[in-house]
Amino acid sequence: MSNKNAVKILVAEDDEGLGSSLCEAVSRHGYTTLYATNAQEALTLVRTQAVQGAIIDCMLPKMNGVELSLKIEEQLGHKLPTVLISGIFKDRSFVRDALKQSNALTFLSKPFEVKEILDVLDQTFDRKEEVIQDAIYTIISNNKPTKREIIKSIEGLERVHGFELPLIYAFLVHAKAGGHLNIVNEKGEVSGISFGEGTVVHVDIKDERSFLGQLLVEQGYVSHSDLVDFTFEASQLPLGERLIQANLLSPHAVPIALAEQMAIRLGRIVLDTTYQMNFSPTKIEPKVPCISEMAFTSYLHDWINSKISTVWFRSFFRSWLDHRIDAGPQFEKVHSLWASPVLSQMEGVRDLVSSGTTIQSLIDMGQYSEDLIYKSVYLLLAKRFVVFSDNVSKVDYRNHLARVKKLTQDVEGKNHFEIFEILGINRNAREHEIHKAYREISKFLHPDKIVGAPKEVQELTGNIFAKVTAAYKVITNPEQRAKYIDELGAKEAKSQMKYEGILDQGKDFLKKGRIQEALQCFSDAEKVMESTSELKLLLLWIKMKGIKEGQMNSVLSDSIEKELSAIPPEDRHAAVYYFVKGLYKRLVGDYELARRNFELAISDDPSMIEAKRELNLITLKSSQEGTRTGITSIFNSIVKRFGS
C-alpha cells in the first residue's frame, strides 16, 4: 500500500496497557493511530479527525463496542471498517449477533495475535484503494450522485473491463460531461472518445475500415453503382464531399452516416478484455456529426443485448444478487425505454422496482431467463432508472445452496485457471482484477458469511471456497500464470485455424445445398470455439432455408428477429448479414425490404450468387404477380364489357 501513514486508525480500549500496546503495534506497521479509553472520547476523535478504521473493545464503560460502532456510523453517515475485540464475550451467538449488527470486518477474542488485526487492516486498506477504483459500483449504488461525483468517480478509474464501457459511456452522457475518455488496450494502442455536453462528438479507434460508403448505400442515400466509381478514386477529399460535389449525395446525409460510423466504432471496443483509461474533463461544444443522447440509448441497448456474455454478467452482478433494486434518479414509469426489445420481454418489471425485488428474486421467479434479467438490470442501471440499495436482503440459505451447488457443478474437473474463467475472470486479467474477483467471491463463499447456516450449506460452501482459494493461489503465481497463458495462446491459435477451416467447409456445403453436411460442420465448429457472428448467421440461414413460404408464424418470426438483433452492430454491415435478413424479410412477406437487403449483400460481395438468385426470384415473383394482375384486370374488363 502506498501511503499507510495517511490512514488513521482509532483504537478504543479502556485497558490502557492493551490499548497502548495495540497503538504501538499498529503504528509500527505504518498506520497512524488515535487512542480513546471510552466511547465519548472515541466519538470526539471521529468527529474531529478523518478516522478511516477502528479497533473497538466490545466492553467499554457506559457503552458497548457494538453500540459505539453504530453511533460512529450514524455520526459519519457511512460504515467505518471496524475490528471488534473482546475478552469476555466469546460465545458464537454473541459473536454472530455482534458481527451482524455492526457489520464489522471481524471479531477477535482475547488473547489474539496482533498479526491477525494487522492482516485485516492491510487487506482492508489495500482493498479500500482498489474499491475506490470500483467507481462503477459507487455510482450504481448511489441514488443521487452529483455530476461532479460521477465525473470524479470515472476520473478515479484506472482500469475498466470492455463490457463496463457501455456503463461509463452512459454515465458520462447522463452527467452531460465534456472531456476526453482515453483508453489503452493490452497492446498499448491508444483510443479515445470525446464527449461534449452529453453527446459523443468524436470516436478515435484504430480501425482501418471505413463504413461510410456502405452506410450511405444501406441508408439509401446513394446507390452502390454510384458509389463504386468514387470508392477507388485517388483524392484528398473525403468520400462524402466528393459525392456531394458530384451531386450524388445530399449534404445532410453525411453527418447521419458519420454518426452511425461513430457508433460502430464505439461498439468495437466493447470487448471481453481490459483497458487502462483516464478521463480528462474539458469543455467541448456539441457539434455535428455527433451521437445525441437519444440516439445513444438505442446503441446502448444494442451493445448490452448483443455483445456482453452471460458469464461476464454473472461475475459483475455476483455481489449484487441480494441487493434490492430501487428506483434511481431517472426512473419514470412512463418512458419509451420500457418499450425497448430487452425490457419489453420483462413484463411487469417496472412495477417490481422498489418493491424489495432483487436480482436473485427475479431469477427465482423462474419467469425470465437469467440472461434477460442481467441485460435488463444492466440497461436500467446504465440509464440511471434503478440503483442498488445498500441494504442486503436477508440471506436465503436455499438460494445460497442452489448457487453453491451450481458453482460446484460448473468447476468440476476444471483446472485452476478454468475455475477463474468460469467465475468471469478473463485470462488476461491483471493481478489486481484477480484479487478483486477473489474478494467478491469471498463475500458470499467465505465461511464467516454463513455462520448459522444449515450444515449442508456450510459444508458445500466450505468445499467450493477451498477450491477457489487454491485456484487463486496458483493463478496469482506469476510463473504459473505466464506458462498457462503461453500454452493457452498456442492452443487458441490452433483452435482458431481449425475453426476457420471447418467453417469454410461448412459454407461450401451450404452453397452447394448440402444442408446436413453443412450443419455437421457448423456443429463441429461450435465445439472448437465460441461461435462468431458469422457462424450464428450461417445457422440462421440454414434455419430459414427449412421454412417454406406461408409457414412463418409470429412465434418463429419473433425468435428470428431476436437472433438477428443479437448480432453485434458492427457485424451488421456485411454480405452474410444482409442476405440472412433478406431471407427473413422474404419469409414474412416484406419483398421490398427483402430486395433491398439482397442488393446490399451483392454490393458488399458481388460474387454472392445466393443473393443474386434470391433477387431474381423476387423480381420474377413481382413480374408474375404483375402479369397475373394485368391478365386479371384485362379479363375483368372483358367480362364487364360483354356482361353489361
Partner: protein, 164 residues
Amino acid sequence: MAVFQVQKKVDGDLVHFEFSGSLDEDAKLPVITEKIREVHIDLRQLKTINSCGIREWVKWIQPLSQTYEVHFHCCPKIVIDQVNMVSGFLPKNVYVESFYVPYYCEENDADRSILLERERDFRQPMGSNPGFVNFQETMTFDDVGGEYEIDVISAKYFKFLKVS
C-alpha cells in the same frame, strides 16, 4: 477548445518551451534545429489531451529523449494521468521537475492545486534509489477557509513515482 500553442526561448545550450491549449490531432509539436543539450518544457497551460494528442506526443518525445535531456515542469493532472497510463509518454532521459496535485473543498465547492517539486517533495526512482513523495491528504490555506482534501486517488496518481 483552445488551440495548441508553443512559446520557445533558447538560452545557451538549453531550450525552454511553454505549451498551452489542447494537445490533439491538430497540435504541431516543435522541431529543434539548434545545437542544445537540454529541453525544458513548461506544461502548466496545457488544458486537455485527447488520444490523438497522446499518440503525437509519444511519437515526438521518443526521439527527442534519445538526443536531449528533457525536463517537464509544472505538469498538470492531465499530463500526470497520461504519464501513469501510457507507456512511452515519459521515456528514459525525461524527468518530471514539478507537478500539480489537485485538492477540493466540498464546503466551498472550490479547487486548488499544490505544486510538488523534485527532491523537496518527491523523487522518481532511479537505479537502486527508490522514489518517494510527501504530500498531505488534507490542507488548509490562509487566504480561504475550509478544509481541502486531495482530489485524486494517491495510489493511482503517484504511481509513476513507484512508491510502495
